[in-house]
Amino acid sequence: MKKNQSYFAPQIKYGMISLIVGIGIYTLLTNLYLYINVKSIFLLSIFRPQYLPSPQIIWHKMVDLCVGRVIWQNIFISVVRVLLGYICGVTIGISLGLLMGWYKKVDLYIDPLIQILRPIPPLAFVTLFTLWFGIGEISKILIIMQTAAVVTLIPAYQGVKSVASIYIDAARCLGANDKLIFRKIVLPSAMPYIIAGLRIALGLCWAVIVAAEYIASTRGLGFQIIWYQRLMSIDGVIVGIVWLGIIVYVFDTLFRHCIFNPILKWME
């Protein structure tokens, strides 16, 4: 415990300093317009409320929006889209990856298809999916599913392929059949790879949903941001971005501490 404290203390200290200094400088610059004519000075002309609102303005907008219902509805919709798509997508991706890693035949049949699909950025399908399934939930969830599946498949496959043969030999001579070896040796041994894929997929799914909502949507956090952009309401856009940061951070932290780390606690 003691060791931990001495390890974290400087991190927190320096973190606080850098935050305070950073926000301080931003506050100063964004409030300059109140005292001097920033428009006339080339490098400072961007620090106008129309482009970069000061922290007070953003904070007011944030509080304003929190009182209303719209922001919460949009956050809820984006979260549901990501969660649903992510869960379905990673289930498909990981299962396929594991199957391909474990059964040579499956690998030979499916790999060419994967290789064709893999290099295409998921967002390229937004227009197509919107045409097929409309602007609503199905097209969004499908995009997320596809992203999550493609990103998690390869690590799961690699994980199976990289199981140390000594563990399989040991298990086999202890009398384990293929099923037990897969369940108790291959799967846990592939977990570090699978979880690395899961983490990358989570971040990417958020990136994709926001972009998809920018492109074709009538609801969701991404839509709300684009809506404020159309209204030329920069503070609204920034509040949306701040919310995204908070949500993705919370998601990543929750997944890491509640799911990923407990599974990998056996690692050195």
Partner: protein
Amino acid sequence: MNLKPKIIVRNLFMSFKQEKEIKVLENINFEISLNEFVSIIGPSGCGKTTLLRIIAGFLKPTKGEVICDGTTVKGPSPSRVVVFQKDAVFPWMSVRQNVEFGLLAKGVSQEERTRISNYFIELVGLKGFEDNLPKTLSGGMRKRVDLARAYAAGPEILLMDEPFGSLDAQTKSKMQEELLKIWEREKRTILFITHDISEALYLSDRVIVLTSRPGKTKKIIKVSLPRPRKNELKFTPEFAELEREVWDLIQEKI
């Protein structure tokens, strides 16, 4: 002692085909009796590990056969468990789960598994560490887990491939003593591979000396030092003499 041998290795030849054929083992013949402790020693690269992998059933010999309990070895079996040189303890399982693995594979009930694993965990001196993960154990302790796991699977033959090769000198001699103690209590037929002459002599009833590649049986030395053996035995003149004999055998050019 049982007259019928437990393991018979008969006219065994092994070669690997790469660019050209490499002969690894040539005409290996020996027998091991029930509950005998036999070591195989030889210069590095003489095919000791290959021989053990053939007996374990991981490899098929080019010619000849291995017979265990009257039947030819065709593949790995829990009646012949291998303890590997490298750390083969499953790092994602606790000590207990590791030790119970062979029993789980056999479909033994949870109650029975706990009973058997308790016994062997205590036998190797790891009581109190049942729920530890391997990452919290030292190299020597992991070897104990490996031993307990091998024993708990209920084999009649234990095949050990330089199991203490990666340990430091002190831990190694401690583990040797420990292994003998365990073996005195739970007799099994043990085939032990090593390149360490004193280790082979200290542990075994007989030592099979192989020549350098292709490995042939050079000589089988009977070690009639009294049991139970303590570590001090290694410092007696009789022991030194035997050590000298084996040393000379290995040094000799084929």
